[in-house]
Symmetry: C2
Subunit: 352 residues, 2 copies
């Protein structure tokens, strides 16, 4: 299949939606992107699996990355796309084929940007982290992502969302002693004692720190609880799984130390962790980007792939067309005028 980059960005988005690319099955779409970008003389291409990196090599003093994932969650009777009243409906329309369409349009139309640009199209963002195409590139060929600043074109409703918070899950284990429930005083009820863990959570005062001028908002919450041996047994163990969302001024190691401190009375096991990303808005490229996009940037509270840039020492923001609340919904859609506005502002910024 062929993509035509001379069509409008709305029509291009529709075309991208019509090429199914559920995580793991991105090859046809990656082929089409490789083919159409390969015909552009001002770009050099590299393909890694179903990820494609296209670069201008103009010798500019600064380089910016524009990145987007090309996969979607499973289709929910919403492919092919439909357009009605200026709104494009379909799987991945907002998350994030509109952003990918903007990337492709910019790659084709802005042949002499004021900064060198690296366009990254990657696979497997919607599934388990260790298959993530951007993660793979950052581990295996971080030089291909080298840049001064990165923009992830995930849907942000056209507002710059800086950096992202880290996330960590930990298991807090409360231990007791089993007994027959008809003689409960012979044991120690671990579920009852888990009340102390819940008290700690309920009394926890999350920080709202300002990082690089953006205000983050942390949170510490139980996301699971489990305990019980049998209907007639005083349980000897209760496990509370907590999720800590931490601002990007805290490293993952520091976040783990904090959890061990908060739950110092119990066994704490860190189950998974992903550090956050500072927004880096003080960087000249970032500052000019924010100014060009307009509006007041806000902190990104959820974890996103911008953290993978942060891990490489590259400040990064989230910015793209579409409402993030519509992602993964059957009725996912995006206003074509929003995609057009995003393309226009970014083209103007890249053109200087």
């Amino acid at each position: 299949m062929d993509l035509d980059l001379s069509t409008g960005v709305g029509e291009l988005t529709a075309r991208l939606v019509d090429v199914p690319s559920v995580s793991g099955d991105e090859a046809p779409l990656a082929d089409a992107i490789e083919s159409v970008l390969g015909s552009l003389p001002h770009l050099t291409l590299h393909r890694d699996g179903n990820a494609i990196v296209a670069r201008t090599e103009l010798g500019r003093t600064q380089r910016v990355v524009l990145a987007g994932h090309i996969d979607t969650v499973p289709i929910a009777d919403n492919v092919p796309s439909t357009i009605s009243g200026g709104v494009l409906y379909g799987c991945g329309s907002a998350d994030m084929k509109a952003g990918v369409a903007v990337q492709l349009k910019l790659a084709a139309s802005v042949s002499e940007p004021v900064m060198d640009v690296t366009y990254v199209f990657y696979d497997c963002e919607e599934i388990v982290s260790d298959r993530n195409g951007l993660g793979r590139l950052s581990r295996q060929s971080p030089d291909r992502l080298a840049s001064d600043f990165a923009i992830l074109l995930e849907p942000t409703d056209g507002v710059v969302e800086g950096g992202c918070q880290g996330t960590m899950r930990a298991e807090v284990t409360v231990r007791g002693e089993r007994a027959h429930s008809a003689r409960s005083w012979l044991g120690r009820n671990a579920i009852h004692d888990a009340g102390d863990v819940l008290e700690v959570l309920r009394g926890y005062q999350p920080r709202q720190p300002v990082v690089d001028s953006l205000t983050y908002r942390e949170g510490l919450n139980a996301v699971a609880i489990g305990g019980g041996v049998a209907g007639n047994v005083i349980p000897d163990e209760c496990l509370v799984t907590v999720n800590f969302r931490f601002a990007p001024d805290l490293s993952a190691d520091a976040a783990a130390d904090h959890l061990r401190d908060v739950f110092g009375r119990w066994d704490v096991t860190i189950v998974d962790e992903a550090g956050g990303a500072r927004p880096g808005l003080q960087h000249p490229a970032a500052a000019s980007f924010v100014a060009a996009m307009g509006g007041t940037p806000r902190a990104k509270l959820g974890w996103t792939d911008v953290a993978r840039f942060d891990a490489l020492g590259i400040p990064a923001v989230n910015f793209g067309p579409g409402d993030p609340m519509l992602a993964h919904t059957r009725g996912e859609h995006v206003w074509i005028s929003d995609i057009e506005a995003c393309e226009a502002k970014m083209a103007a910024w890249l053109s200087g």
Copy 2:
């Protein structure tokens, strides 16, 4: 296989252990019991599945039931039985083939008891309640169990344990509102709110009421807790399963009302219930039994099948050889001298 009721009660217990009778597979043992009791002219027999009811019909003014289950938990490399130093080892030795051996010996040897006696041998006590043979008899032919007083020969270490406490399980459901855990303040965490349920449990003051001169000890405990949607979601439901052990001065209905009152702020669903049994120690037959057995009777805190007699209006106690703490253990055993003492005291009591 044949049973010889002229052997000593220890040897008879060993013989019973050597006839495997895991719940559901009691037929060979039931056949043997039916056969040996059928040869005794002073007893009239009735068989219902693998339950056997044998009665004296002497026209006495009082009738007592001696009941025991003939099934065991699954064998754990502990059949056939072994005897060492006066101790009999084997599956079901304490729970409760020693008690069954006492029943059989009494049935054979006390042909003219001062009270009429109904010997009940029943199946499927160690599994789900609705298969219980005593329950089946009490539903289908309660007249066969009619009596003034009942003794369940479960192991009680040779001490009369009066009646039993009731047991009830209820699910207390705490509801909240889902949200993404990066924006937890948009939701309401049901696990955190379940802390209030645990506070109620921890602050609960159980009663220790005196019923028919015995002191019971109630208990209200969480036996299970569960909640959680996903690692990044504020959970909207947490379910706490509580087990209420209540003294026999409280009906099951009154116990349910009490739980609904204690957990009035939440949804309460009664999952299962089994009323307790009053000890009825003021009844003449019970009083004479306690006096004859000696020792100080105590309240039975765990639920037992005596409650099935209570439901028929028959006061009942637990009394039998063996340590109840050894039941269901691989090393289950019973002192032969304890079985002999039990037989001797009960024979003397029945003989007046």
